[in-house]
């Protein structure tokens, strides 16, 4: 397609971290060591107003743990009443039936819960929180009971890549219709713990081939991947809105103080939504421009897959090399 900004006057999604505070210390977390001042509710509503004005259709609260902020409900209600489609990702610890009903009442369209293993002990150890599996599953059931759409997010790593089918079965058992098999990011604690958690490129290739085969045979569950490196596989036939990473093209990330980064995994601030003109950031940011027009570097130069994968995950390349244009370290080619 033509240059992203020729078509899109704003991103489709803002992934919004209201707070980096969290009740968990997960092994892979990109943000556990982040510290950032948080906006007051009045300023958060101003941010919502800007997003509405810019016609951003979706916001997804992440974190940190979104439910840590007591005014999440007020924020979500304000945003949904102004026409935004509101969702979030949570670890599920604070998500009982009362909370699920409140989330539904204030207009959440869907809620995603992170579950990394169908074995409670494995999940709890990964999340460094005894009892977290049970509460996460209870959260899924609570969402089902109140009639709020649930999704399940599983970050693929060495602890679960050979047992992803069991995760799909777990989703089925608890009324989940969509499972995100997220790719492992080498950011924050994910970078520190990379050696224990990350797969080798050959293992990633084998995982995706297997997962794609399962996806093609599955019709009762939507299985989603968000990893641009997968586009280099001929078996991957999905039509995506943009080539390569979607961050900076279809989505942006908001930090708790209103700073904008291309995505949560790239700690490069391109502006502040409350202090600068959003359109200037979206159309003119040199960082965003560079991410939208990546140059084939290293082994990507001359690679026949580059047109499709655009060098793979920009966040991973940046985290490991400091350069957006370097090849994704997960690439098997």
């Amino acid at each position: 397609m033509a240059e992203v900004t020729e078509m899109f006057s704003a991103p489709l999604t803002f992934n919004w971290t209201l707070s980096y505070r969290c009740n968990f210390v997960c092994e892979h977390c990109y943000s556990r060591d982040e510290e950032c001042p948080e906006l007051a509710i009045q300023d958060i509503k101003r941010v919502v107003d800007i997003l509405v004005e810019q016609q951003v259709p979706f916001i997804n609260f992440g974190g940190g743990e979104p439910l840590i902020r007591k005014d999440l409900y007020e924020v979500a209600e304000y945003a949904s009443k102004r026409g935004l489609n509101v969702s979030m990702n949570t670890n599920g610890w604070l998500l009982d039936e009362v909370a699920a009903q409140r989330l539904k009442d204030v207009g959440f369209k869907s809620v995603g819960i992170s579950i990394d293993s169908s074995e409670a002990s494995v999940h709890d150890a990964f999340r460094n929180m005894p009892g977290s599996y049970e509460k996460a599953v209870r959260g899924l059931d609570a969402l089902r009971k109140v009639g709020l759409k649930s999704t399940m997010s599983s970050v693929i790593s060495r602890i679960n890549y050979q047992a992803f089918r069991e995760l799909l079965d777990l989703a089925r058992e608890h009324g989940v219709n969509q499972v995100y098999l997220h790719n492992f990011k080498c950011s924050g604690r994910g970078l520190k713990n990379r050696e224990e958690l990350d797969l080798t490129p050959a293992e990633w290739q084998a995982f995706y081939l297997e997962a794609l085969a399962v996806k093609h045979q599955t019709d009762d569950l939507t299985i989603s991947f968000d990893d641009p490196v997968i586009a280099s596989l001929p078996e991957y036939q999905e039509k995506t809105m943009v080539k390569g990473s979607s961050c900076g093209k279809l989505s942006l990330h908001l930090r708790p103080n209103g700073d904008i980064t291309p995505c949560g995994f790239i700690p490069v601030v391109v502006g502040n939504i409350l202090k600068e003109d959003f359109e200037k950031i979206w159309f003119d940011s040199p960082v965003l421009k560079a991410m939208r027009a990546k140059e084939a570097t290293g082994k990507c130069a001359g690679c026949s897959a580059f047109d499709d994968c655009q060098g793979g995950c920009t966040a991973r390349a940046f985290a490991t090399t400091g350069d957006f244009n370097q090849p994704d370290p997960h690439c098997w080619k």
């Binding site: 020729e6 078509m7 006057s9 489709l12 016609q55 259709p57 489609n85 039509k239 809105m241």
Partner: protein, 104 residues
């Protein structure tokens, strides 16, 4: 009522900057039939409507009859209503078949 209504399952927006550019190109006599100005998002898929389709789409609020939509389109492009009626009818029928429009 059979007035066309946008499906609530579809998220959409007018790409205003894009639309302005397409209008400019139209005034310059360029063919803009394949230039999207409205995006529709459904189940993770994006579809685009061109200028004419986008203008029809924006009027499909369940209140406007096909004739009223055609009249508005004719006024927008300074043509006779009869000239656009069949286009409007065809477009709305197509989008109803896709489930993007429903009966209001």
């Amino acid at each position: 009522m059979n007035n066309p209504l946008r499906s609530p399952d579809i998220v959409w927006r007018v790409e205003k900057r894009r639309q302005a550019e397409v209008l400019k190109a139209l005034e310059a006599g360029e063919d803009v039939d394949d230039s999207g100005t409205v995006i529709l998002l459904q189940s993770g898929m994006m579809h685009q409507l061109n200028l004419v389709g986008g203008l029809i789409w924006q009027q499909c609020d369940g209140q406007q009859t096909l004739a009223a939509i055609a009249a508005e389109l004719a006024r927008e492009f300074s043509v006779e209503q009869e000239e656009v009626e069949s286009d409007v009818d065809e477009f709305v029928t197509d989008l109803k078949e896709r489930g993007w429009l429903i009966n209001g």
